[in-house]
Symmetry: C2
Subunit: 340 residues, 2 copies
């Protein structure tokens, strides 16, 4: 049995998910494969859809995902932005009729690997409140930024606009731990440390209050209003809604071609200097190291490339079930994962 | 006596400062004029400098401010980004050899007034720490985003990457009030609620921890490394350093020309829908209104345009002294301010 995706789309999706696990971001890796497959099986994701550039100009493009898997659409959009930035210096690409695209950081890094600064963002079903509001206003709307350097690894920031991800609240609930009062609001819109109200009558709080709220609206605008994607409550939940119904997520990507704007050797040297000066700066009492954004993930990648990616029991169980359903040999899958 | 700036540069600077006061952001308005004039008098700002586009391509430009007042440089850079986005859809402009450019939001709004999404950012002398660090790592690095709508006013976000501005800590100190433990760290890099250590042996904390730190590095990169401006500790303080020495600030501006990418009438209608749906959303207990980013400032602008801009005693005193020094009639200045 096959899920039905074409080889190119399946390979891109695999690369996105496995690279994400390789950098230790296991919340957004192969753990989610079974959910994507469920959507494919019920036609909420069309396995035969091919993302298409439906309009474009010298410094911009719009990709229609035609309700297929999000990764090939996001990949095409960022690759198109990179290609166009190669010509004019900077480019924007939006994507619509997409879905959950995995880790935003993957696409931002595509730009950094070409010596460009990459921005990657997506909207999502509203789950985050706003100052003065009672309930959901925007999605947690992730934003990733990748900054190429010289000898140093690219700086990689990949963050949601909420104080924390919803999964942190489930974790605290499962462990019987309290949470700070800036993570969620209760059903009346009042900050609470009571995890039991989440998620049925609670909303996530934006990071840094009005700042995270405002940035979430920037991401919503670039991802949905400019691209023509679903906006705010029009967006479906890729996890909890009927899996027959497309979610209509939108994404936005920006690539900035440093080498055409600045002397690249000078830029790379100064980026290395910036990174090293931060790493060398005096440490806080009790701190042994100052990490650059993404540095923990690069460290994990070095480790996992040498020693394999550790998978939790629930992920192995999920992959085993998928392998059985689709007649795959998990032994091979496992060793492939471990040796990438 | 004249300060020596050309008429064009003086008019742009006036427009930036007065518009900022008009929107109620008095921390970044005419209050600072005396500090800029002090720099001009001591040659740390060259009044005769004319900002110059030193390199450019289809979607990008670099402006050299030649150590003159920052506002004309920032204005030229954003105007150039707008012009180029008019051709290719999106454009980046960096500025170097600049100084304190006032409120970032002014330049972002220039784009929104042309139906474009505008981003405006700047680096500054390091005053903010990073996770694991003891002292200053980056500036508070402001970021502004302006989003045009239809009948509604543009969304306008204008925020620093620190939890709060340093001025908030002085205010708390002056009023004998405590501060939360996420505003500053002490000399050992440990979060503190003790305002007396600021600023001599304290650093501001980034908003939302590693998120604000990461975004500050994005802003530093776009403002300084791509433009060729001073970076991190190379940047001087426009307020506290010797006023004879140029500060070498860098800025970055991005304009995204919505109308060439999307059907503008559809975009404007959907942006209005987004704004109105948020405004109509259920309010938190005790909340009467959900504000869009910038909405408080637009409300003030309507009020101040009708009734004049209220000026505090210290600002009137400062303007009076300037008027005496340069032989201006403050009566006229006052009525001009009130009636703009």
């Amino acid at each position: 049995m096959e899920a039905g995706m074409g080889r190119d789309a399946a390979e891109i999706t695999t690369k996105v998910l496995v690279t994400t696990d390789l950098m230790g971001v296991s919340t957004h890796g192969v753990r989610n494969l079974h959910n994507y497959l469920k959507r494919i099986a019920t036609k909420g994701l069309d396995p035969h859809a091919r993302p298409e550039i439906v309009s474009e100009g010298p410094g911009w493009a719009i990709v229609d995902g035609h309700n297929g898997m999000a990764m090939p659409s996001a990949y095409l959009a960022m690759q198109t932005a990179i290609d166009k930035a190669g010509q004019v210096g900077i480019a924007y690409a939006g994507a619509r009729n997409s879905c959950h695209f995995g880790a935003a950081g993957f696409y931002a890094l595509m730009a950094a690997e070409e010596g460009m600064i990459g921005l990657s963002m997506s909207n999502d079903i509203p789950s985050m409140t706003a100052p003065g509001a009672r309930s959901h206003i925007t999605g947690t709307n992730p934003l990733a930024v990748a900054i190429p350097a010289g000898e140093e690894k690219p700086i990689l920031l990949d963050v949601a606009m909420s104080t924390v991800a919803g999964s942190k609240i489930y974790q605290a609930l499962a462990r019987g731990k309290g949470i700070p009062d800036n993570w969620i609001v209760d059903g009346e819109g009042i900050p609470t440390t009571d995890t039991s109200v989440y998620p049925h009558s609670a909303s996530l709080l934006p990071m840094a209050g009005h700042k995270g709220y405002g940035l979430a609206l920037m991401i919503e605008t670039l991802s949905a209003l400019v691209s023509g994607a679903n906006c705010l409550t029009e967006v479906g939940s890729w996890l909890f809604d009927k899996t027959e119904r497309p979610t209509g997520h939108g994404h936005a990507f920006i690539a900035i071609n440093v080498g055409v704007i600045a002397p690249m050797d000078v830029y790379r040297r100064r980026a290395d200097d910036m990174i090293r000066s931060i790493r060398r700066a005096p440490k806080a009492k009790g701190s042994e190291r100052i990490y650059l954004p993404g540095e923990m993930e690069w460290d994990k990648r070095v480790d996992y490339e040498a020693n394999g990616i550790p998978l939790t029991e629930d992920i192995i169980k999920s992959l085993t079930e998928i392998a059985e359903t689709y007649g795959l040999d998990l032994g091979e899958v496992n060793s492939e994962l471990a040796n990438r």
